[in-house]
């Protein structure tokens, strides 16, 4: 468990982050926790059987990218390569989108940089019929479920083919077919909603697990507490993840919580709770699979703290050099999730640099092509946009008279 830093004990405590700009980010070596430290309990275990898992860190890949321990999911080559490819796709996609944003083709963007493993490994560990209820930091799940990239870019542009019809900011994807539930800006609202989705699955007798994510910062919201408490009470098939990437915009987790791990909060509600290395594809996969198996067996929720690092800016509006050392990510011992899986595959002789370069180029081309195609449906600078009439539709199932009057008043 990490130690918490504070400036002073009087008059009240104000936390401080490990480092501020100008300081040298020195985390004193790698993680103390190693693969094999923690056992993999039966899915029928009690919450308290996970007590050590909530303070430790479940890892499968060690610092040399070698997999070991009970949690090794022993995935086949195809799955591993798919995982690598999706992570690379997400990163390349993100980079392209940020470039679009910088040139005025998007109004705004948020990358998953450094956190690519999370939504991808976790979604791969689930079944197709499972519901995804993400925050803005899990768009990668859509690649796993095969969403058309052009359609994703059209949303981010807000052009005529945006299935959100230009109503929400970029990255607020919705994709019913992929059971990827509409992202909303107010942080954390999806967490207790996901509990409701899971209760409905259970009510209807369906083997449909619901997974949701929110951030370390967001865990301070009332909605976090509602989710955990309702999940604990009704025990529906839900997987609740706190993605602890250590930062909430400029606010380090040290400034906004008083210590202990996030995972321990789940334990206190009698929910099995795990702290997992969020940049370790295999560990993430394994823990999520465990949670799904448990949920599917009718044994209720699992709580997961995904320990990672927000490698990039919070969003295209943010410049983190104002509040943390620019090289903090590189110094942080958790590494890069893509490098780690790549290293693992290379170590096992399943991959090499040439293949990696080739795949990078292929995805690059794929993203470029998608980007160009998406722009044929309009870009933010030049349009076309969804027609103004989309302001008035789908507010209600049917357009009521007063909204209709206003639509006529606008006359578009």
């Amino acid at each position: 468990m990490p130690e918490r830093l504070t400036v002073s004990e009087a008059p009240y405590t104000i936390g401080i982050p490990p480092f501020r700009p100008g300081e040298k980010a020195d985390f004193g070596g790698g993680f103390a926790e190693q693969p094999g430290d923690l056992n993999r309990p039966e899915v029928t275990c009690t919450a308290q059987d996970t007590a050590t898992h909530a303070v430790g860190l479940i890892r499968v890949l060690d610092d040399e990218h070698v997999a070991s321990g009970e949690w090794d999911p022993k995935l086949d080559e195809e799955t591993l390569l798919k995982g690598l490819e999706h992570m690379m796709r997400l990163r390349i996609f993100d980079d392209r989108m940020i470039k679009m944003q910088r040139t005025g083709l998007l109004s705004f963007y948020m990358r998953s940089y450094g956190e690519e493993a999370i939504a991808i490994a976790q979604t791969m560990a689930l079944e197709e019929q499972d519901w995804l209820f993400p925050s803005y930091r899990q768009p990668g799940a859509q690649f796993v479920r095969g969403r058309d990239m052009v359609s994703m870019i059209c949303h981010c542009i807000g052009n005529t083919e945006d299935n959100v019809r230009g109503r929400q900011m970029p990255v607020h994807y919705t994709w019913k077919e992929g059971r990827f539930i509409s992202i909303s800006s107010p942080v954390g609202t999806q967490f207790p909603q996901a509990v409701g989705v899971a209760m409905a699955s259970a009510y209807r007798g369906l083997d449909e697990v619901c997974i949701s994510w929110l951030g370390d910062g967001t865990s301070a919201q009332g909605d976090f507490h509602y989710a955990v408490n309702f999940a604990s009470t009704f025990k529906p098939p839900v997987i609740l993840n706190v993605v602890n990437n250590q930062w909430a915009i400029s606010t380090h987790a040290n400034l906004a919580t008083g210590g202990r791990t996030f995972a321990e909060r789940g334990l206190a509600y009698d929910i099995p709770s795990f702290r997992v290395d969020g940049n370790d594809f295999l560990a993430l996969y394994a823990v999520t699979k465990w949670a799904r198996d448990r949920a599917s067996a009718g044994l209720g929720p699992t709580f997961i703290e995904v320990y990672t690092y927000r490698a990039g800016a919070h969003s295209s509006s943010d410049d983190p050099s104002a509040y943390r050392p620019q090289d903090e990510f590189e110094c942080w011992p958790g590494g890069d999730p893509i490098d780690r899986l790549k290293g693992h595959l290379i170590g096992r002789g399943l991959w090499d640099e040439d293949k990696h370069t080739e795949l990078t180029e292929r995805i690059d081309a794929e993203v470029m092509a998608a980007y160009k195609e998406a722009c044929t449906f309009g870009d933010l600078a030049n349009g076309p946009y969804p027609p103004a009439s989309t302001i008035f539709t789908e507010v209600y199932e049917e357009v009521p008279w007063h909204v209709q009057e206003q639509r006529e008043e606008l006359g578009k």
């Binding site: 519901w131 209820f133 945006d162 299935n163 959100v164 019809r165 109503r167 929400q168 607020h172 919705t174 994709w175 019913k176 539930i181 509409s182 909303s184 107010p186 609202t189 967490f191 207790p192 909603q193 996901a194 509990v195 409701g196 989705v197 899971a198 209760m199 409905a200 699955s201 009510y203 209807r204 449909e208 619901c210 009332g222 909605d223 507490h225 509602y226 989710a227 408490n229 309702f230 009470t233 539709t393 789908e394 507010v395 209600y396 199932e397 009521p400 008279w401 007063h402 909204v403």
Partner: protein, 336 residues
């Protein structure tokens, strides 16, 4: 037909919907085993099972969020907020989430939640068991807002609210649960002898978006909802003015045709509600009527409302619009 008070009528609507639609579930604080602090859900858990009618943790925000999620995934949740005053912890989930889901997802997702909540004063509830916060929901596109006033429309409107595929905030005037209230706390009539206490035992529904003309008249249009419908009725009786009384029933969207036609006919209008005046729903009615009926108006549109103060306990009869205050307003419209 049976004699029902408003509690029985609401209970009947819920019971029938549980029977008709296996996806209806009901939950909230104390609504399960006990049947609700006002007994509206009494007997439903026993009849339909603990998974369909159940007690929730004491967290309005959580109740709303969970209902939201259930609604996305095929259920038709009916949640109770024990008192309308306690709806505010759920305000974000209602106005930022439920109301916007269909629009924000390009129509991919929606959630047909019904939020039932007892509202209004007259039961010595003081600050926090008396508020009537309808106006705080009518400013939110995507919501429907309903306010019933008697057993008959309570059942019919609640039935429609549950069937509606948009989220509906459904206010129940708790002062009228057991009988109409004509403004005199010492007279406590029951629904037994009231025509709107005659309620079919079978299924029926009353469309949302439809106001109800309680009494026709040519000299002034009086618009009210909830408990104030009865107080206004009494005021009209006392005023000796041939006023038309409209029970708005649905506030968002309200019934333009009925209201506008009436005011164009009478040229005078008094709006009555219990909530504070400033930014109450009366303001919207007044502004809209003025826009649509300006050339027909013979006198200023009057609002008779609760004061711009918190709701008091011992002096609540000085807070709530009384028949006298309403009658005076009606009289003022006749002077012009």
């Amino acid at each position: 037909m049976a004699k029902m008070n408003m509690i029985a009528a609401l209970n009947s609507a819920l019971d029938l919907q549980l029977q008709r639609d296996p996806n209806v579930v009901i939950f909230g604080e104390d609504v399960g085993y006990f049947g609700g602090v006002f007994r509206v859900t009494a007997g439903l858990q026993e009849a339909h099972g603990a998974h369909r009618v159940f007690d929730s943790p004491l967290a309005e925000g959580g109740i709303a969020a969970v209902a939201f999620g259930m609604g996305i995934n095929g259920l038709r949740p009916v949640m109770e907020i024990q008192f309308a005053d306690y709806i505010f912890p759920a305000y974000d989930q209602i106005v930022n989430e439920m109301a916007k889901l269909r629009h924000r997802s390009g129509g991919e997702f929606w959630t047909p939640v019904t939020i039932r909540t007892p509202a209004g004063g007259g039961i010595r509830g003081g600050h926090h068991h008396s508020q009537s916060p309808e106006a705080q929901f009518t400013h939110t596109p995507g919501l429907k807002v309903v306010y019933c006033s008697n057993p008959y429309n309570a059942k019919g409107l609640l039935t429609s609210a549950i069937e509606c595929n948009d989220p509906v905030v459904f206010f129940e005037p708790k002062r009228c649960y057991r009988g109409p209230f004509y403004g005199d706390p010492h007279k406590v009539p029951t629904w037994n002898s009231h025509p709107d206490g005659e309620v079919p035992e079978d299924y029926y529904s009353i469309p949302l978006e439809q106001a109800r003309i309680v009494k026709e008249g040519g000299a002034c249009t009086v618009i009210a909802w909830g408990t104030m419908v009865h107080v206004a009725e009494e005021a009209i009786r006392q005023s000796n003015v041939d006023a038309e009384l409209i029970d708005l029933q649905t506030l968002l969207p309200w019934d333009r045709d009925t209201v506008v036609e009436s005011v164009r006919k009478t040229g005078r209008c008094v709006i009555v509600h219990e909530a504070p005046k400033t930014s109450g729903f009366g303001a919207e009615m007044s502004a809209s009527i003025q826009e649509r009926c300006f050339w027909h108006l013979e006198a200023p549109i009057e609002r008779v409302t609760g004061w711009d103060t918190p709701f008091p306990h011992t002096t609540e009869w000085d807070y709530l619009p009384s028949p006298g205050r309403i009658a005076e307003a009606i009289a003022r419209t006749q002077e012009a």
